[in-house]
Symmetry: D2
Subunit: 345 residues, 4 copies
């Protein structure tokens, strides 16, 4: 497709994003071109916007940012057989090599050559995006467009939640950003006995309750670990989903989990975290699981089926703004006074 | 049984152990009295001897030290049905409650109420020891007595090694103390494709080769991680058994494992260890497993069957001394110039 | 406790049960005496009553029948520490040896020396029952007594349902007797995407819908497998819980499951069943799981937590009769026009 | 590549294969052309040759038979990046769709649209074969060419053997055809405590011993199950690899496995097999696993690494014949007086 489109572009090695008019991307034989109907902001996007240390080491401007979206296929390459023009789709945002040992061992989510949309190649904060058709995931047209746009982070929530037993289990979620909030709903939908959320932001604490948390602990109120032990008759929780990346929360996660439990780490700390490995991991026989991306395609099937069986995430989508108001969206992200923020191109 | 016996007793809150003559312990209805034929020294015993910080916080003198042994049953309580006088036995050293959530969930190795022989109650550095019969494990009379005495730490090696895939896998073992050495032999016996050992002590490096390590890396020689990557075509190992408790080794373990691999932690660091959780655990999707004790009784069955099918650990037993020479044994442990040191009462 | 009590006794090797007045059972040092508040009828009880081939081979009269109950502890042996007089309890009905390989490998549910209450030793169709205290399971006093009495078969439902993935999965339940009905509720509670039930009896078909089945297939209506394929876009279900023991249903289960899925067999056929192993198991890579009893004590913890988090099974309890009306209860079981039938001593 | 080549072709719907001169196959953009250096005969090939019921229902002549081979890449399509002309390769013989639910859930080995080489498309009993490059597997040039040709069935042996615990386990192998023989070697290489083989043919019984079986039971000698129980102190084996497809062997497999064990079915019976599901699967809590093909690519990595660490299968290759002598090869297969028979084009 010829023509120009609006896009949020990282123009230079500095904070901010620019709304630009750029060429609609061209598509190869294996690609599809998608008209973006809604795109949502991830913490990663905010890091790129704010130009933090990680972004400075990884991002090579100029690049269109953004990776979460839902859209309609408007053009397909000549070798594309599995999607059609007119299909409503979202996308797995990791473009993998299918060749390294991890890809060959059914661990594509940790492919050694992963290229991420909106990080290593042009993203979806734009009117159109071109992608390998193999990365597309068909989407139910009845789904709220905001939720549909956020299926990729929902995949992270599902991957983290279902990385250990949930049915009848007591689980803590440390950190109630959008993925933490979605994971609370996933846990309750899948029969968790008790979901305990920890959070610092009052807006998000209230959202955590809305999503179904049985207890929400205000981290500012003091001893989180004691509170969790109280809520679990002194035993501790069977599992923790660590969603904050906060060093104190990671330490607490290891202390609130019962011996033999699991701590699933999705949150990304920005520096080294000191851990009491002897007492909190070895002697307790705890399993600490690094959770990267989504299992391809198990997590996607799970999220599709959970949505189809009534998992309702509309309350996580707290803001819907025109693409032009992206600065307001980024400020919301910085404040924490939001769930998922959706931009409409 | 009436009478007196020799025993190595922690008499006071200070370094050292004293060779004493004490009462032969009495046995309850569920207990057995065992005449100790051989007993071996664990790192824990050395910590108690040296009176390090952990020992100061845990040990309550007076107490007979020691927990690894093999011996002959000489007396049984009236409710004991499963062992007979004359049986050759060793013991699971964790006396568990069978009542806490962990015990009820088949995770007795992390029982919340564990009492450890030679740590929380009288041990086996003595001519006799009394124990709940339920903790005894029958032992093949054809087994070398030194190896038979060290079946409990072998259980740790087996628990750690078999906590993830071994057949056809590339595995690193960081730290070649007795348990590290035994785990090398276990890995090779179970079809590991490649076993890479890391160690600082020349004596133990040579033993690691004797046990079958395909490569032994001298930690003093520089960049351990690069060397492991070289030995694995840049991919990293599928798993690491961390046997040293050394903070640098734990950090290296996380860096030498391939994405999606496992790091099984048995070594116990004496203070908090800073970890690059973002890059070394989360983004790599690594599973970090705290390994505590032995699975009751899966690890024991496994070790019995591995020994029965030809696993040969005699080379790990480097020293056999009379009980009276325990100070020499402890000094050997401190120097690292030994495998397993056995004391004969 | 001295005295006499009412009990339903298998008096001789013939059909029927007799209401008798017998001695209240005596208790050993490790036992508890429980006053039965409610007891429910299992298919096994009906087999004993009807004196089918299995019963003729296994049961040794005279014996009090029955194994499902809830009651109050009225007396404890001198070594009993974990339950108190006054506690409300139900029981694991398998008395295991704790000594065979299976017991030692955390597979007590298939102990080689299992003794079953009401099958191999006196049961609970009576005013009192004496049992090893280790077999008791504390029960929430707020639970409906009928449901409380049926926690043991609920354990079977939970064991079967959670023997494979449930969250986001499509699962068929073949056979809607009480355990099938309970498993439907468990599956929906734990996030199953779709639950398809098959049944012949109209009363139970309606109950299956009440319990939350997304579709109920009348087995009399023709091709069950085609109907399941239709309901799953031609793919088949991810798992089947086989609850009927009917040879045709077992064959259908293997044909309706998708390649790579699981078929969990709890139903007990009364004779050999011919299976198309090549096409239905080997080429499809299907896993067929025999499900025996309940995992001790994982299944019990799960059922306790599922009940505590809102799993509501009251609709499964369709009849509550005085113990004296046991013949009416047995006839209800024979007709299939019931869910769980509870007897009140 | 232009030209003609020798090939064994199923010319019509009748027993036999014809040695023909046919066109060298052409290659598409994603394909490679391989010069076959050695090709081996599978039971499936014999079924096609003998034109049994299965073959009559599946094979559509004319078609070149054969699927096991090793060869050298002589030509690659323009989109092929991962193999080079000159590479020594063998092949995964299942060409999968990468699109069905199974492929998407990391279960490619049970892809709903599998096309098998030499069954659904032209095979490798020829001088050349054209294949999707994605199906090729690089092969160590130091490997014996006969063994290299049989890596695909070795993958089946590895998939079956490693489908459950092996290290320290007691395993029976029922049926000592080439895959059974290879699995014996795999089990011993991976630390099995005891491998018990059952077989009817004296030639293969001797080969089973050569491969390392601890005991070989002559099925003609009477009660196989009793003999296995004797050899395992009455307990039964932890697992059975069923390699014969013989109905009696399948029944025995379920009876010789201990409660809680696994029976992994690779052998393909030609008709329905009656099983005592109640006593042999449900009450024993046995897991019956259908094993189809090889995990892509986990089984391949495992077999590569097992070969690299010393697994020696040369004794399984009992006959090496020129391609022209294929009738002799087929007769050997029919007689059972062989291990693997290799044809050299």
């Amino acid at each position: 497709m010829e023509g120009r489109m609006k896009a949020l572009v990282k123009m230079e090695r500095a904070p901010g994003l620019e709304l630009q008019e750029v060429q609609i991307p061209s598509t190869g034989d294996e690609d599809a071109l998608i008209r973006v109907l809604a795109t949502s902001i991830c913490g990663t996007d905010y890091h790129i916007y704010a130009w933090n240390e990680w972004a400075q080491g990884r991002i090579k401007p100029p690049m269109i940012a953004g990776h979460e979206f839902v859209g309609e296929v408007v053009e397909i390459g000549k070798n594309v057989a599995d999607v059609q023009v007119g299909d409503l789709v979202t996308a797995e945002t990791h473009v993998v090599c299918d060749r390294c040992l991890q890809c060959r061992m059914d661990q594509r989510h940790v492919c050694a050559e992963t290229e991420i949309i909106g990080v290593d190649r042009d993203g979806c904060f734009a009117e159109y995006i071109a992608l390998p058709a193999a990365n597309l995931w068909p989407t139910d047209p009845d789904l709220d467009l905001g939720v549909a746009s956020a299926q990729e982070p929902l995949g992270n929530a599902v991957h983290t939640a279902l990385a250990g037993p949930v049915a009848g289990a007591r689980i803590a979620v440390t950190g109630c950003g959008p993925i933490g909030l979605m994971s609370i709903a996933v846990l309750k939908h899948c029969g968790a006995r008790q979901v305990i959320a920890t959070e610092v932001n009052p807006f998000r604490m209230e959202l955590a309750e809305t999503m179904g948390a049985d207890a929400v602990i205000d981290v500012n109120d003091g001893d989180v670990v004691s509170r969790v032990l109280e809520l679990t008759e002194g035993v501790g929780v069977d599992g923790v989903l660590e969603m904050s990346g906060n060093p104190a929360a990671i330490d607490q996660a290891l202390k609130m989990v019962r011996p033999g439990g699991r701590v699933s780490l999705l949150g990304v700390p920005s520096k080294a975290v000191p851990l009491d490995i002897a007492n909190d991991i070895v002697f307790k026989g705890v399993h600490v699981q690094g959770i990267a991306g989504r299992k391809m395609w198990e997590s996607w099937h799970q999220l599709k089926n959970l949505l189809a069986s009534g998992l309702d995430l509309r309350d996580v989508i707290t803001h819907r703004l025109p693409l032009e108001d992206y600065r307001e969206g980024m400020e919301l992200m910085a404040s924490g006074d939001c769930g998922k923020v959706v931009l409409i191109p």
